[in-house]
């Protein structure tokens, strides 16, 4: 679920549908009744009211509860459209081609596909991102944080009421080598604004005993990863904490539901570090159910490249998402040179 900053493809983005780029965007003035702005990207229109986000396209429309929409939009923005497909729900979403993005209605829904009513348009990633960022900023009211677990934030309902820009513009944490090394991502503490989460109050906060010889103080290094995760102020938002070339350890704390059904374009590994997450997997292209995966502390599993997955975590849990950030992988999978499952046994 995490993404390397430099994953943008060096070569021209793949365009398997041969779609032209849309360059029409608009932000309309605030609605007199609701106070929210409406947005247009290509032929898609976006409007919110008290309870819902409404999406329209030529000959079609769809609506999501606005909390569902905002949580999903927040991840799509924070993750730079992510790896592969981000399904906001069973109808609407985006697919990342690393520099260009497809936005769709029904393209990963079997009924729309069979009926021939799926609608897809393609955009430059930075241009669509600009609209998405304006939308999350305008549609998020004061007191509501789409990154937070529902029990830890206010409600998103009602007419426009202030904003929460600090919450929706958080920068994702990406260590260059390892958290805590000199010059790298710092540790979290009460003093730096990261108190221990209420559900991790029992997690030990001790630090490793480090005995460095003179001259090696900056090279002999360790930190308490579990304590670091216990202080995460967001959910379902992996941050890179250690890097071996393109191998990215992206731990995160999870509570409630992964706000998107993620259809990764490469295998994605999950290492359950604490507690439990239940994963539902569905066919990436059609949404047909494939499996339920219950992960308990110490469990390891991979999400194959041809599924979409969504996690459910009641007690806040610690999950290590392990990604391979190589930009070569999507093309290797598309061309059949890489398997959907990394190991056959």
């Amino acid at each position: 679920m995490a993404m390397n900053e430099d994953t943008g493809a060096a070569s021209k983005p793949a365009n398997p549908r041969g779609l032209p780029l849309q360059a029409s965007f608009a932000v309309e003035p605030a609605d007199n009744r609701t106070g929210y702005r409406t947005f247009k990207a290509g032929s898609f229109g976006f409007r919110r009211d008290g309870y819902f986000a409404h999406i329209s396209w030529p000959n079609g429309r769809h609506q999501l509860a606005v909390d569902v929409f905002l949580r999903a939009l927040m991840r799509d923005v924070a993750w730079g459209f992510f790896y592969g497909t981000v399904n906001f729900d069973t109808v609407f979403g985006t697919t990342n081609y690393y520099g260009e993005v497809e936005m769709f209605a029904g393209a990963t829904n079997e009924s729309f596909i069979k009926a021939g009513t799926a609608f897809i348009e393609r955009f430059k990633a930075d241009e669509l991102m600009r609209i998405f960022k304006e939308m999350i900023g305008d549609w998020t009211n004061a007191g509501y944080d789409p990154f937070a677990a529902p029990m830890e934030t206010g409600a998103p309902w009602g007419s426009k009421s202030g904003d929460n820009d600090p919450a929706v513009s958080r920068k994702r944490v990406t260590a260059k080598r390892m958290v805590g090394l000199p010059g790298d991502t710092p540790l979290r503490s009460d003093a730096s604004g990261y108190p221990v989460n209420r559900m991790f109050a029992d997690v030990p906060q001790d630090e490793p005993e480090v005995y460095a010889e003179p001259g090696f103080e900056h090279e002999v290094s360790a930190f308490n990863l579990f304590a670091y995760l216990s202080r995460s102020d967001v959910t379902w938002n992996p941050s890179v904490c250690s890097v071996v070339k393109e191998s990215l350890f992206c731990p995160t704390s999870e509570e409630f539901i992964l706000p998107v059904e993620h259809g990764n374009d490469r295998p994605e590994w999950f290492v359950q570090l604490s507690d439990e997450i239940i994963w539902t997997t569905k066919d990436r292209d059609t949404g047909a159910f494939r499996a339920q995966v219950v992960c308990k502390a110490g469990d390891v599993c991979v999400m194959p490249a041809d599924v979409r997955h969504q996690g459910f975590s009641d007690k806040r849990s610690m999950l290590l998402v392990w990604e391979n950030g190589s930009p070569k992988i999507p093309e290797l999978i598309r061309s059949g040179k890489a398997p959907n499952v990394p190991v056959k046994f």
């Binding site: 360790a222 290492v271 570090l273 339920q292 308990k296 110490g298 499952v341």
Partner: protein
């Protein structure tokens, strides 16, 4: 409301989840448990539990004193349950110990010349860097579980059928 209790596992106390298929093959999920793997492994056998192209996550049962390892790139070790010490030595000539273009950890027959860098005592949840250019070894008084972020190499053991859920 009562307090929350965070569940961690250990080599001697863990509960394994499961894959329940609707229309799939459980083998596709390569489902395993790190404590289960450590419990059935020989000391310091480095067993791959996750693989993504050349990259792997290894699990090792720490018990007693390991041999020395080195690597041509950084690696990271996380202690998942009981204490384990990491001893680090800066090699005078790392390229003589391991091909600088090679990947994955290499076992050393003997410790080459170098300077003592220090040691780290890891407990549950602690992560340490095993920096490029260093040799390292582990020491644990009692069986413990280590998770290592590295690349598939000469000491990586592949035993997927032995511990992954197959049906």
């Amino acid at each position: 409301m009562s307090g929350y209790s965070t569940q961690f596992g250990s080599i001697d106390a863990y509960e394994r989840g499961t894959v329940s298929v609707i229309a799939d093959d459980p083998k596709n999920y390569l489902f395993s448990n790190m404590f289960d793997v450590a419990a059935r492994s020989a000391p310091y056998e480095r067993v791959a539990v996750a693989k993504n192209f050349e990259y792997v996550i290894e699990v090792a049962r720490a018990e007693g004193v390991s041999g020395w390892f080195t690597c041509a790139h950084d690696e990271f070790v996380t202690c998942l349950d009981y204490p384990c010490e990491v001893h680090l030595v800066k090699l005078d000539d790392p390229d003589a110990a391991v091909d600088p273009e090679s990947e994955g950890a290499h076992a050393l027959a003997a410790l080459p010349p170098g300077k003592k860098m220090g040691r780290i005592v890891l407990r549950r949840g602690h992560m340490a860097i095993l920096p490029v250019g260093a040799a390292y070894r582990f020491e644990a008084a009692a069986p413990a579980t280590l998770m290592i972020q590295t690349i598939d190499g000469p000491v990586t053991s592949h035993q997927w059928a032995a511990f992954c859920q197959s049906k």
